[in-house]
Symmetry: C2
Subunit: 438 residues, 2 copies
C-alpha cells in the first residue's frame, strides 16, 4: 500500500519548492525550472506504485505560461484553440506579495501541463506594464482570469485550483450546444434539474438561421449555462417544442418558460437569459462560487445546507424545491443551496462561522459583509419543517422581521455573535406547532 502519498499534496509541494527557489536564488524563471528538474527526480521515484493506472500528475517544472506583451499577444491568440490569460497587478516589491503572484502562476503552470495536448495557451498580463494589451484585449478586472475562445471572452470566477480550472477548461473546449438525439439522451437532459438549461427544436444543424442564432447565443454563456438542441421530431414532441422554439428551464422547475419573440434572434435569447439567470434555488459550485456569492440580495444570502446523499438532506432539498417552485416568480427570492459534500474543507469552517451542525439540514440568512447569520431552529423537531413553514420563515426574512442584526445587542461578546434564531414575537406559537400550523 503506497497510497500515503497524496498526489495533490505532492504537486503543491513541488510547486512550492520552485517558488522557494525563485525567491531565494534570484535566478531567471527559465533557469529555475531547469535547475529543479534534476532535484525533483528523487521525489518522483517515491511515487511509483506496484499497480499502474492511477498516477496523479506532478508538475514537471517545464515553463508553459507565457509572459504576454504587445509583441506576442496576437500570435498567442492565433496559435491556440483557447487562450487563458491571468490579468494581474504589477509584480510587487514585497516578498509576501511576490509569493502570492507566483502561486497563481504555478496553479496555471500545472493546469497548462495537465492540458498540454488540448491546444490551450496560458499567459500573464501585467496591468501596468501591459496596459495597452489589456485594453486591446478587453481585460477589465485585475485579478480575473479570462479565457479567449474564437472571438469571445469568458471570465472565470471560481476557486482557482488546478482541478477546478482543468474541469472548467475541458467544459469550455466542448461544443457549446449539445445535441439531443434520442429518448435516452432526453432522459439525461431531464435529469439535469440543478442547472439552467435551454433547449431548442430546429430543422437541422446546417443552413438554419434559427439554429445559428441559438448557437451564437450559447457561446456567450458557455460553460455556465447549458444549451441543448434537437432535430428529432419525437424528442421535440415529448418536450412540447414547436419548430424554432426555445424553452428555458430554471433549476428545479418542472415547467419551462417559452422564450418570447419570433423569429428569436441571438440578442432575444441573450437578454432573456440575463434577465432570468438568478434562479429561485441555485446550487453553489466550485467553478463559480465567488460569482454566486457576490450576487447577493441587498447584502444577504438565504443559504440552505443539505447533503443530497443523506435521506434527511434529500428530504429537505425536496421541500426547498417545492418552496422554489411556489415562489419562482418572486424576483426577491434566491436561495443558495450548498451540499456540504462538495466542500469538505469548508464544512467545519461553516459550522464554526455560522454555529450550526451540518450533519443535519439547515437554512439561514447570512450577511455577506461580516458572515453574521441567523438560522431557522429545527433542532427540536422530529420532522423537518413543511414547505409552508419554510415559506412563512422566508417571508419573515424578506420582510426583515428575521434578520442578522436583532441578536447583536450581545455583539460585544464574540461568543454570542451568531445565535440560532429563537422564534420572533410575531409567531410565538410556531415553535410548538411546526407541523400543524398549515
Amino acid at each position: 500500500m503506497l497510497n500515503e502519498y497524496s498526489s495533490k499534496f505532492w504537486t503543491c509541494t513541488i510547486l512550492f519548492l520552485i517558488v522557494h527557489k525563485l525567491l531565494h536564488s534570484g535566478a531567471t524563471m527559465q533557469h529555475t525550472w531547469l535547475y529543479l528538474l534534476s532535484g525533483l527526480s528523487l521525489s518522483l521515484v517515491l511515487l511509483s506504485r506496484a499497480e499502474e493506472g492511477l498516477e496523479f500528475p506532478n508538475f514537471d517544472g517545464k515553463d508553459r505560461v507565457l509572459d504576454i506583451n504587445e509583441r506576442n499577444y496576437k500570435k498567442a491568440l492565433r496559435r491556440y484553440d483557447l487562450l487563458c490569460l491571468f490579468y494581474h497587478e504589477p509584480v510587487p516589491a514585497s516578498k509576501g506579495l511576490q509569493k502570492r503572484f507566483q502561486m497563481t502562476e504555478l496553479v496555471l503552470e500545472l493546469t497548462a501541463q495537465v492540458l498540454e495536448n488540448k491546444d490551450i495557451g496560458f499567459g500573464m498580463v501585467d496591468a501596468q506594464r501591459d496596459a495597452k494589451v489589456a485594453q486591446k484585449l478587453g481585460l477589465e478586472e485585475v485579478g480575473s482570469l479570462y479565457v479567449f475562445k474564437d472571438d469571445r471572452i469568458i471570465e472565470f470566477d471560481g476557486e482557482l485550483s488546478s482541478d477546478t480550472l482543468v474541469e472548467f477548461l475541458l467544459d469550455v473546449l466542448e461544443d457549446p450546444v449539445e445535441i439531443i438525439n434520442n429518448a435516452m439522451e432526453l432522459r439525461a437532459f431531464e435529469r439535469m434539474e440543478e442547472d439552467i438549461r435551454l433547449i431548442g427544436y430546429f430543422k437541422g444543424e446546417d443552413s438554419c438561421w434559427y439554429f445559428q442564432a441559438f448557437q451564437e447565443a450559447s457561446e456567450r454563456f458557455q460553460p455556465y449555462i447549458k444549451f441543448f438542441a434537437t432535430f428529432d421530431k419525437s424528442v421535440a414532441k415529448h418536450l412540447s417544442l414547436k419548430m424554432n422554439e426555445v424553452n428555458f428551464y430554471e433549476p428545479f422547475m418542472e415547467e419551462p418558460a417559452i422564450l418570447p419573440g419570433r423569429p428569436l434572434t441571438e440578442m432575444d435569447i441573450v437578454e432573456f437569459v440575463h434577465q432570468h439567470r438568478r434562479a429561485t434555488l441555485r446550487k453553489l459550485r466550485a467553478e463559480n462560487m465567488f460569482e454566486v456569492w457576490e450576487d447577493d440580495m441587498d447584502g444577504i444570502h438565504i443559504v440552505a445546507f443539505a447533503e443530497e446523499e443523506d435521506p434527511d438532506g434529500y428530504e429537505f432539498l425536496e421541500i426547498l424545491k417545492d418552496v422554489a417552485r411556489d415562489n419562482t416568480n418572486n424576483p426577491y427570492l434566491s436561495i443558495v443551496w450548498i451540499d456540504p459534500d462538495d466542500f469538505p474543507l469548508l464544512t467545519t469552517y461553516w459550522e464554526k462561522t455560522f454555529k450550526v451542525d451540518l450533519f443535519r439540514p439547515q437554512i439561514g440568512v447570512v450577511n455577506v459583509t461580516d458572515a453574521d447569520s441567523v438560522w431557522l431552529d429545527m433542532s427540536n423537531d422530529e420532522d423537518l419543517p413543511t414547505a409552508e413553514d419554510l415559506e412563512d420563515w422566508i417571508e419573515d426574512v424578506l420582510s426583515g422581521r428575521v434578520n442578522t442584526e436583532d441578536d447583536d445587542e450581545f455583539a460585544d461578546d464574540p461568543e454570542n455573535d451568531h445565535y440560532i434564531l429563537e422564534e420572533s414575537d410575531e409567531n410565538p406559537d410556531t415553535d410548538e406547532e411546526d407541523d400543524g400550523d398549515d
Copy 2:
C-alpha cells in the same frame, strides 16, 4: 475580485514552508510550528475578501498530530471518539524520504485542524520504534491509515489528501445505520443506486436482538457499505421486506437479494457482504480508489469511462447497467466505471496512458501491472454499441480473445503500446454491423 488565491494551493504552500523549515533549520517540530506562526501572518492577510462566508482554511501551524508510543496510546484511544493513526516506516536518513514522511504528517495536520471540534485524535506509529504498540493495536500494513472507532479498526485506502480524508472521517462519525422513516427518505434510499446498500425491517431500535446484530454488522463496513433500517410498516411493505428480514442491493441492480438464514446473526450478514462485495459494475471513488484498483481480476480491469452529466456518457452508462444486470451472477465480471468529472487531474493522464479520447465514452481492458490497454473501437459509429455488442466484447475479454498482449509485437516501439483494438479474426463483420448483429 480576489479569487485568484487558490485556497487549497495556499494551504499546501504554507505546509510546504513548514516542511522546508524543518529540513533546513534542524529545529524541533514544536519550535518550527511556533516559529512559523509569525511568518505566516503576512500571507494570511492577503487572503481577506470583500465578502465573507467562503474562506478556505489555511494551516495554522499548531501541532495536533501525536507521536504515539507505549506510554500514550491507551490514553489516546480513551480520549477521542475517533483515533486516526498513520502506521509508517521508520523516519529514514535521506532527505528525500524524510520529505515524503513529513508531507503525510502535514496532510494529517491540516485534517486535524479542520476537524478540531469533532473529537478526533491523530497520531503516527513508527513501525520499528513502536513495533510493540503496533502489534497491540493490530496495525498490519505499513503505510496504511487506521481509524479506531469504539473497539473497531477501519482501514483507509483512498487518496490521502485532506479533502478526501475529511469527507471520509465525517462519514465515519455518523451513525453506521441510517433510519428510513418515510416515503421521502425511501425515495432518497432508492436513488442511491451507485452504492452497495443493505436495508432491514425491524420492530424497533431498542431491545431488538435482530436490529442489534444488523447494527453490529454495519459497524464492520462503515463507511464503505451503507446500512439502512426501517421500523415503518409501509416503508417495509414498499420494499417487500418481512419483519427481521434484510435485503442486499448490489449497485445498479433493481432487485435485491434476500439474505439467507433465520435468525440472521451478525456473522451471517458479515459473511454475505464479504461474498457479494465485488459488484458487477462499481464506481471508482477517491475514498477507496486504490483498494478497488488493487482488487483486480487476474491482473486486469475492465474499465469504462462515462461522464454521467453528458448525454452520451449517460446513455453509455445506462447500457453498462443493462449489461451488469444481465450478468450479475457472473463472478468473473466486474466493470470499474470511472466518471472523468470526479478526477479532473487524472483525465488527461488517462487519455495519454490509454490513448483514448475521454470526451466520449470508452470501454477497455487495462493490465494493472503495466497500464497496457486495449479499447473497444466505437469511433466510427454514429450510435453507441448495444448491450448485446458490449456483452459479445466482454465475452471476448473474459475468454482472453481480447487482451492487452496481442498488439505487443510492436512493443519495442513505445508509440505502439496501446493500440485501439481492431476487430479480431473471430468477428470480421462486427465492424460494419455494430448495430444490426443482434
